[in-house]
Symmetry: C2
C-alpha cells in the first residue's frame, strides 16, 4: 500500500473522493463502455493524460487505485501513479473483475456515467455478499473542487483559448464562412498546444448569434454589420476551457452596442457577487437583474454558468433553479447573454476560480465589442 503524499495527485484524489462519500462503501468502480460512453470520473480519479480506455475500469479504495485495462491501453495507463492490471479479452476481463471485486461488500458505482448494460454486467457477476451503491452525487461533489494538478491543466486550456481569442481579428474578416472561421480557430489553438478544441465550437454570424447552441455553417459568410459570436475552448491533457466573445463586422449599430454593454454589465455584476459561501442563485440573479432592468428584459434565456474541468459541462451550476453554494476551488463559467430571435445575440463568457473572498478570472481576453 502506498503511503499518502501531498504531491501525489492520485492519492489526493482518493482522499477527496472518500471524504466526500456520505454512503459507506469499501471501493468505487468506474467503468467505461464504448466511446462516447466513457466515465469522465475514470480520468478524474486516475489522472491518466492520454489514451482511449474503452471497456476499461478503475477500482478506487481509500488508499489504493487500480486500473484494469486492455493491452492497447497498458502503456498509457502506466503513465499514471496507479496499479495496472492488463486483460487480453472480454472473458479474461470478467474473471479479473470478479477476482478483484470479491474483496468488497459495498461497491460504489457512478450511475450517471455507467451504462445500464455495464450495471447489469456487474449485477450478473453475483459477487457473494456484495451490494452496488450509487455514489454519483457524492463523486460529483468531490469533482467540483479542483485540485492543483487539475487547476494547472485548466489554466493552460484557458490560456490557450484566451490567446486564440485575442487573435480572432487576424484571421476572421468580412466574407469568411463560419466553418472556415471555426477551422482557423481550431488551428490557432492546436498551434498553441491544445490537443484539440474542447468541444464543437459555436461560430455564429448575424441572426444565428441568437441561437446559443448553433453549429457553424459552410454557407454563412460574415457581412458588414453582423455580430460574430465565438463560443469555444481548448482541450489540454483532457481538461477544457470555455470562452465566449462577441465581435461585430465593421461598425456596430447603437442597438448592438447597447446589447453588448448590457451583457458586459451583467457579467460584471455576476463576477462581483462570487465568493466562497455565496449561493449560485444569488450570482445568477445579479446578472439577470441587470438585463431585466433594460429593454432586453426576458432575453437572457439560459442559466449564468456551469462547472468545467474534464468535461465542458462538469458538475456545478450557477442557476436560479439549482441550490448550490459556491466553494473555494470550484471552476465555473460566467456567461450571461441577450438573444433577440432573428436579429442576433451577444454572450460574454469567462472561466473563473472561486476564492475565499471573490474569484479569479482564468480567461484573459479583451471584453470590449471588437470590430472584425
Amino acid at each position: 500500500m502506498r503511503a499518502f503524499q501531498a504531491c501525489d495527485p492520485v492519492a489526493t484524489r482518493e482522499k477527496t473522493i472518500f471524504s466526500s462519500m456520505k454512503k459507506d462503501v469499501d471501493a468505487i468502480i468506474l467503468m467505461n463502455a464504448v466511446e462516447p460512453n466513457l466515465d469522465s470520473s475514470f480520468f478524474y480519479a486516475t489522472g491518466i493524460p492520454s489514451g482511449l480506455f474503452e471497456g476499461c475500469l478503475a477500482i478506487i479504495e481509500p488508499r489504493r487505485t487500480e486500473v484494469l485495462v486492455s493491452e492497447l491501453e497498458a502503456l498509457s495507463a502506466k503513465e499514471a501513479r496507479v496499479k495496472v492490471s492488463v486483460f487480453e479479452n472480454g472473458e479474461k476481463r470478467g474473471k479479473l473483475m470478479k477476482k478483484k471485486l470479491s474483496r468488497y461488500r459495498r461497491i460504489g458505482v457512478n450511475s450517471t456515467e455507467l451504462t445500464h448494460s455495464n450495471y447489469e454486467l456487474l449485477k450478473r457477476m453475483k459477487i457473494p455478499g456484495s451490494k452496488l451503491v450509487d455514489i454519483s452525487k457524492d463523486l460529483h461533489s468531490a469533482r467540483m473542487i479542483k485540485q492543483p494538478d487539475e487547476l494547472s491543466r485548466i489554466r493552460k486550456a484557458c490560456s490557450i483559448a484566451s490567446r486564440a481569442c485575442q487573435a480572432i481579428p487576424k484571421f476572421v474578416r468580412e466574407g469568411v464562412t463560419e466553418t472556415q472561421a471555426a477551422a482557423d480557430l481550431a488551428c490557432e489553438m492546436m498551434g498553441l498546444g491544445a490537443s484539440g478544441p474542447g468541444f464543437e465550437s459555436v461560430v455564429a454570424f448575424g441572426s444565428k448569434s441568437a441561437e446559443p447552441h448553433y453549429s457553424p455553417s459552410v454557407k454563412r459568410r460574415l457581412k458588414p454589420g453582423n455580430f460574430a459570436l465565438f463560443d469555444f475552448g481548448a482541450k489540454y491533457q483532457r481538461y477544457v476551457s470555455d470562452l465566449t466573445r462577441t465581435f461585430v463586422c465593421g461598425t456596430a449599430s447603437r442597438k448592438k452596442k447597447e446589447m453588448h454593454s448590457t451583457v458586459l454589465e451583467a457579467q460584471r455584476a455576476a463576477l462581483d457577487e462570487i465568493a466562497d459561501g455565496v449561493m449560485g442563485s444569488v450570482v445568477d440573479e445579479a446578472a439577470r437583474r441587470v438585463i431585466d432592468g433594460t429593454k432586453f428584459e426576458g432575453l437572457f434565456i439560459h442559466s449564468t454558468g456551469h462547472g468545467i474541468g474534464i468535461s465542458v459541462h462538469d458538475p456545478g451550476s450557477i442557476s436560479s433553479v439549482v441550490d448550490m453554494e459556491l466553494k473555494e476551488g470550484m471552476v465555473l463559467t460566467v456567461e450571461p447573454g441577450v438573444y433577440i430571435p432573428k436579429y442576433g445575440g451577444v454572450r460574454i463568457e469567462d472561466d473563473i476560480l472561486v476564492t475565499k473572498k471573490g474569484c479569479r478570472v482564468l480567461t484573459s481576453c479583451s471584453k470590449e465589442l471588437r470590430a472584425l
Copy 2:
C-alpha cells in the same frame, strides 16, 4: 401520421429499426445524459446534423419519430424531419415523458448507451402496465447497414481524410513535433470541410509507432530513419472516417521496408476476402496468415477492423473472436499492423463498404511507404 417515403431518411430509419427488432416493442426510447454520455443511436435515428442534445430524448415508433428537447436545442431539432416537443426544465421534461410514454406497454431501451441513472428514472416513472425491454443488440444490427444519407456523409468524411493524408508530406518534415503534425492535420481537414477531427489523432514517430493507441507528444520530434504513423479521421455532419498510413523520414531500412510490404500484403489479402456473406473471422484470418507467415509472426496484436459511422467504433467487427457475417451495406475499417516494441510499428488502414461481390474502398490515399 406521416406516410412512408423512400427518400425520407427518418422514415427509412424507423423501418430498418423495427424490422431488426427480434423483441416485440411498441416504441423505443433513446435518451441522452450529459456529454460525453450521449446515445449515438439518438443521432442515428433522428439524423439531426448539429446541436448537443444533452438531457434530450427520442421516441421511435414504427412510423413516427418524436424528439423531446430543451429550448436550447429546439432550432437544431427542427432541421430534421421529426416531430419536436420542447421542455423548459427537468420537471417539465418529466411530465412530458410520462404523458408520451404512457401510450406504450413495451418500451425498448438502448442499454449500452443509456446511463443507469436514466434507466432508474424511467423505472421510477411507474408508467402503468409498461415494461422496459433492452433492444440494444437489435438496434446495433440495424445500425451496421448504412443507409444512403449515412453513406454520403461517410464518403465525404473519407474524402476529406484521404485528401489530408495525401498532403501530409507537404507539412510534416524532419524536426516537427507530433503535436504540431496533429494540429496541421486537423487544420488541413477542417479547411477541407470537416467539422473537426473524428477522434483524437494518433501521430507517432519512431518507436512510439509500435503503440496502437499512442497520443501525440509535444516533446517528440521526427528524426531521420523514423517511422511516422498517422491514424486519424474527419468528422462530417456527425459521421467519421478512420484512416492510417505509415511514412518514413528520409530513407527506410530494409527491415522497415519489409514490415511495410508485409502489412500491405496482409491488407490486400483481407480486402480480397470481403464480400456479402463472408464471416469477419475469415477476413481476419486472411490478414493474420500473411503476417504470421513471415518473421513478423505474432506481432499483429489487434483485430483487423471495426464498424465506423456516427461513432469511430460503431457496431461491427472483423475479428477472430467475434462471430459476425459481413453484409452488403456495412462500412468497416481494414487495418492490419505489425508492432515491434521499442522499435516501431506499421499500420495501413482503409474504410470499406461491403458489396454483394466484394467491397468498395472509400478512402483513396496512396499506400506505398512514402518518405517525409
